[in-house]
Amino acid sequence: MPKNKELTYSQALKELEKIVTDIESEEVDIDILAEKIKRASQILTFCKGKLRTAEDEVKKVLAEMGDKADTEAADEE
């Protein structure tokens, strides 16, 4: 199970789908159920948060790229 910070959207979605299938199959033990719900809740919180607060890291990288493109374009002129 990857830590939240390294989780991609598609990994998150896959893990959530797996949990749902497990729970819906009703084969899950009630004690494990608590664990699964906790994990699902973590993933949901993570995803909802990530949708609303894009990572600063990415912003920085993209901003640098933008600057570069800016200067390149300026050079052209």
Binding site: Y9, L16, I30, L44, R52, A54, V61, L62, A69
Partner: protein
């Protein structure tokens, strides 16, 4: 003709030019429909339009002439052309025009354009566009970008546009003020969005994005919504091919109502306006969130169901448990009742038994009552006040007293020999009644 100082007769230049002028007008007096390419086009301050027209074979001009459209006509001709083709008259276009010849003594020969038939140019443009599209199809490029999957969450967006382009501000406002509060990471890669240099400029921007493609989810090319003119730069092969080949999905919002440009067709998704592109991206984010919210709901529902079932079985178990003491108590009460009834019975029985014994003893005792014995004919003999049981104690002349049922007899002993035997018999008779006790 004027004579000049020299011997030879000579014409002044104006005379010659006058001759040329009349010769041309005499020989070519009409208006002609002509096809030519615009090599250059300028408008002066008065609104007159000056053109350089060529006919080319390959890259070489095989014919060339100046032309003009007077301001008065240019206004209507230019507008009609723009309306029909969505493009202004400009360099590189092939046009079919109606013109008459002009010869000016100072400026020389030129054409005066009276009308332009835009359908020819449209056909020409359509033919060029079709050629590009055919080539893209032939090379298998036309659907290549469409084959890419849209990102699960379109959050990191590389934007190609010009900050001066109309619709640019709308796009970012719309994106950043979305009602769900989604946060987009968008980076502008500035490019010219119209004019001759637009294609090269957009290609450069794409090249810059390509270098950092892992940091982006998709590419957006946007241009203002208002102006519908000058879309030529989106119909060329090089840009369309690069868009088709691009490793990230390309979304266009070039803002025009008429036919799609070649770039629109080669892109992954074509939207009408920059705002529509923003909507599209927001809906992509929303779609992902709805997806996970749906999963959340399913989890909640399942867990509630599971818990309800568990609770139900707990309740029924508890009910069974709570009934158990009552049942146990009932069982024990029954047993107690049985035991107590048992005990009562036994006690009664025992009492009865004892009662019987008592009754029998009473009867036996009653049998022994001396009065009864006397009534049956027995008698009690006393010697000096003591009951006499042994005749051997008697001597002649002794005085004994005999008690009968009724009354007492006093006797004097004569002999006592025979009495012992009869006394023994008497005793045996006295005993019955004690045996059953």
């Amino acid at each position: 003709m004027q004579k000049i100082s020299s011997e030879r007769p000579a014409l002044s230049l104006s005379q010659l030019n006058g001759l040329i002028k009349s010769a041309i007008l005499d020989t070519l007096p009409d208006q002609y429909w002509v096809v030519a390419e615009i090599a250059d086009l300028k408008l002066n301050q008065k609104g007159h339009c000056y053109l350089e027209l060529v006919e080319k074979e390959g890259n070489a001009a095989i014919a060339q002439i100046k032309a003009n459209i007077w301001a008065y006509e240019y206004r209507s001709i230019g507008n009609r052309f723009l309306k029909a083709t969505n493009e202004p008259l400009k360099q590189g276009m092939k046009i079919l025009f109606l013109a008459s010849l002009l010869f000016h003594e100072v400026y020389g020969l030129s054409l005066n354009i009276k009308d332009i038939d835009p359908t020819y140019t449209m056909g020409e443009m359509a033919r060029k566009k079709k050629e590009v599209l055919d080539r893209l199809r032939r090379e298998g490029l036309i659907d290549r970008n469409k084959a890419l999957e849209l990102p699960l969450v379109p959050q990191r967006i590389a934007v190609i546009s010009s900050p001066t382009a109309a619709g640019y501000g709308d796009f970012f406002n719309h994106l950043d003020n979305n009602p769900y509060g989604y946060s987009f990471v968008h980076t502008l890669f500035p490019a010219l969005m119209q004019g001759q240099d637009a294609e090269g400029s957009i290609l450069k921007a794409l090249a810059a994005i390509r270098k950092q493609k892992s940091a982006c989810d998709l590419v957006v090319i946007i241009r203002g919504g208002g102006s519908v003119i000058d879309l030529n730069c989106f119909d060329g092969y090089p840009l369309a091919a690069e868009v088709a080949n691009f490793p990230l999905p390309v979304i266009t919002g070039i803002g025009h109502q008429k036919d799609d440009t070649v770039v629109d067709i080669a892109a992954h998704t074509k939207m009408k306006t920059p705002t529509a592109v923003a909507e599209f991206l927001i809906s992509g984010m929303r779609s992902f969130e709805e997806n996970i919210l749906g999963l959340e709901n399913r989890i909640v529902t399942s867990v509630e169901e599971l818990l309800r079932d568990e609770r139900q079985s707990l309740i029924s178990f508890a009910q069974r448990l709570s009934l158990l003491p009552i049942r146990l108590a009932a069982v024990h009460r029954n047993r107690l009742m049985i035991i107590s009834r048992d005990i009562q019975g036994r006690v009664k029985q025992l009492m009865q038994h004892e009662q019987n014994r008592l009754t029998r003893a009473e009867q036996a005792i009653r049998h022994l009552d001396p009065a009864l014995v006397l009534r049956r004919g027995y008698s009690i003999t006393t010697l000096k006040g003591k009951i006499l049981r042994d005749a051997a104690l008697l001597k002649s002349g002794m005085l004994i007293e005999t008690q009968l049922q009724n009354g007492t007899v006093t006797s004097i002993v004569q002999s006592g020999k025979e009495i012992r035997k009869s006394a023994k018999e008497q005793r045996t008779d006295l005993l019955p009644g004690f045996e059953g006790a």
